[in-house]
């Protein structure tokens, strides 16, 4: 910036309190309209060379700002000094909620606010343009800069404590109606001062540690409590990324599954028909000739096609490796019943059965078959067929379930976070 040609630099001055005599430095030069005496907390009229008292401080409790007046630093890339502090409150269902507003000054820029509620911080700037959706606040959504903002809350706010200086009139007891609209991490707010003025502003949520670093404040900031109106969800973006990754993995699994379905040979390794007569032996057992299972370790399907008719049988298979003795066992109940009841025909079960054994290594195998049935039943013919390299789908289903569980949990967490956010709103 070029050195001023005209007038000398604007110098810092101070005002003397007519109430207690203490001097208070003025930080905003000629912008200061009201200055709070740093000693007795009287609100002084700084525009008047005589300095008059506008409001005496009566409250017994003094609020101490977390950030001292006079603190300087860069917030959102603009150098600023904390020059004013006010506590404001809204009352909802007889409960008072208080938040704190720090006025930020730069001699060349518009005033900004830094607000704090329960450890949640926002840097707020006034807007030059009106949002879409109506210039006067109501509970419908607004759009600004292409972003949609949902209405959060409308409440009447009362100033309960002031400190420092302000470029406009300020008193304890001042009331304005404020409406907030959120699109985390942003918050659009409208403040209506009777029928005189509507001011729209935009707040940006900043983490307390970012504020502490920017303003070089000592110690640690208080931990935020609860979920704030425009606090970004910790899973914002992450949930979407997780779903995107999950979708990719499901596609990948599907491709593998389809390739597996297409490449499965379904080669018959053994087939033989047997008869089981439960009248002669309620439990029977036999061993098949040895057959070859070739190729990679793939699934083996054992099919049982029976002549069961209103009857059941139990078949136990043990697929035994002739060389190593390794056995894969599986037991099946096969039953088929049918009839007519009240003119309606019905069936239950099926006369055929198929079961797959996953990943059976190649080798020479035989089947040990055990059958069991009702003693009174008639003989059953059944054909056993062993098919090598059949397509299986269970692994695919399990994979899909495992893939979608993490994003489902994340979405659930995000949903709970949003629920906590909106619980605090007018719509909770």
């Amino acid at each position: 910036m070029v050195e001023a040609q005209g007038r000398p630099p604007v110098s810092v001055r101070s005002v003397n309190c007519p109430n207690c005599g203490a001097a208070t430095a003025v930080r905003t030069f000629g912008h200061a309209v009201n200055v709070v005496c740093q000693s007795c907390r009287s609100i002084l009229d700084a525009t008047n060379p005589g300095v008059t008292i506008l409001q005496r401080y009566t409250d017994a409790v003094r609020e101490e700002p977390l950030i001292p007046l006079g603190t300087r630093g860069k917030l959102l890339d603009i150098e600023c000094e904390v020059v004013g502090f006010q506590v404001r409150q809204i009352v909802v269902d007889d409960v008072a909620y208080q938040w704190r507003e720090y006025l930020l000054f730069n001699p060349y820029r518009e005033f900004r606010y830094l607000t704090e509620y329960a450890g949640h911080w926002n840097v707020v700037s006034t807007l030059d343009a009106l949002p879409e959706g109506g210039p006067t606040p109501d509970s419908s959504a607004r759009s600004y800069g292409g972003q949609r903002y949902r209405h959060f809350q409308t409440a009447e706010a009362t100033t309960t404590f002031v400190l420092g200086e302000f470029p406009w009139q300020i008193r304890v007891g001042d009331m304005t109606t404020g409406s907030d609209y959120v699109a985390p991490p942003l918050m659009l707010s409208a403040e209506v001062d009777a029928d005189k003025e509507v001011t729209w502003s935009l707040g940006r949520y900043l983490r307390a540690d970012e504020i502490w670093t920017s303003l070089s404040l000592p110690g640690k900031p208080p931990r935020p409590v609860g979920v704030f109106a425009n606090q970004p969800s910790p899973s914002q973006g992450a949930t979407r990324a997780m779903w995107r990754n999950a979708a990719l993995l499901v596609v990948l699994a599907t491709v593998l599954w389809i390739a597996h379905l297409a490449s499965a040979r379904g080669k018959e390794a053994f087939a033989q028909t047997y008869v089981f007569d439960p009248k002669t032996a309620q439990e029977a057992s036999l061993v098949t000739p040895v057959f070859e299972l070739d190729g990679r370790p793939t699934a083996v399907q054992i099919e049982t096609a029976t002549s069961l008719d209103n009857q059941w049988m139990f078949v136990g298979y043990a697929l035994v490796n002739d060389e190593t003795g390794q056995a894969f066992e599986v037991a099946r109940d096969v039953s088929y019943y049918h009839g007519v009841e009240d003119g309606e025909s019905w069936t239950e079960g099926a006369a055929t059965d198929a079961v797959a054994l996953p990943s059976v290594p190649a080798g020479r195998y035989f089947l040990r078959i055990e059958t069991e049935g009702e003693r009174t039943a008639s003989p059953v013919r059944y054909r056993v067929r062993v098919v090598r390299d059949v397509p299986t789908s269970l692994w695919f289903i399990v994979a899909v379930v495992l893939i979608v569980i993490p994003p489902i949990l994340a979405s659930r967490r995000a949903l709970l976070f949003e629920r906590r956010r909106w619980q605090e709103s007018d719509h909770g």
Partner: protein, 210 residues
């Protein structure tokens, strides 16, 4: 730029009207408000001490608006119940007059319009919208102000106003309008809200400690 020189009718000090469109100026020595007529200049008033204000802008500050440069030629200072604001008269490249308003460093540049339908003060209620040149403007503030001082050259006589009412309007696209109800026929100024960076100001005031 046609300068025209004269002497202050009060103290005799030289007066220079740097801009041909200037009608009024303030004598730098005796603070007489001097109005230029067709034949000579006459003293019409006196400026008291201007309130201690902290606008970063001053007479002869230069800047840019759109593709044109401008220089600050004069100023009207207003006071209202919440504080003060400045209307800086700017002269753009080519000689056009405009106004750079500065309310606690919230800046807007606007130009006097003519031929547009202007609502009455009672019609211009908070939240009401009006369309000018295809843009919808909504009333965002109504301000009762008092003239608090003048400085430099102005394109009209302005020195004895007392209470004036202003209505400010904004659009969804940073357009800015203000209606001045101080005269019988209200005046409508239309322009844009601008921020400090886009104005690219030079020769601004400096501040102790900054």
């Amino acid at each position: 730029m046609t300068s025209r020189a004269a002497n202050c009718p009060n103290c005799g000090a030289p007066l220079v009207y740097r801009w041909s469109s200037s009608v009024q100026t303030v004598c730098e020595y005796c603070r007489s408000i001097v109005v230029r007529t067709d034949v000579d200049v006459k003293k019409v008033g006196q400026v008291g001490d201007l309130p201690y204000d902290a606008s970063p802008i001053q007479l002869s500050t230069e800047g840019r608006y759109g593709d044109k440069g401008f220089v600050v030629a004069g100023r009207i200072l207003y006071q209202y119940e919440q504080g003060t604001w400045n209307e800086w008269r700017i002269v753009l490249d080519g000689g056009a007059d405009g106004w750079l308003s500065d309310a606690q460093n919230a800046f807007a540049v606007s130009f006097l319009t003519s031929g547009l339908k202007i609502p009455t003060l009672s019609q211009a209620a908070l939240g009401r919208s009006f369309v000018w040149n295809g843009t919808s403007f909504t009333v965002v503030s109504r301000t009762l102000a008092h003239y608090a001082g003048v400085e430099g050259e102005l394109p009209f006589e302005y020195w004895d106003k007392t209470d004036v009412t202003f209505v400010d309007l904004r659009s969804e696209g940073a357009d800015f309008a203000t209606i001045d109800y101080s005269d019988e026929a209200p005046a409508l100024y239309i322009g844009k809200a601008v921020d400090f960076d886009t104005l690219r100001l030079r020769n601004v005031r400096t501040f102790e400690g900054w």
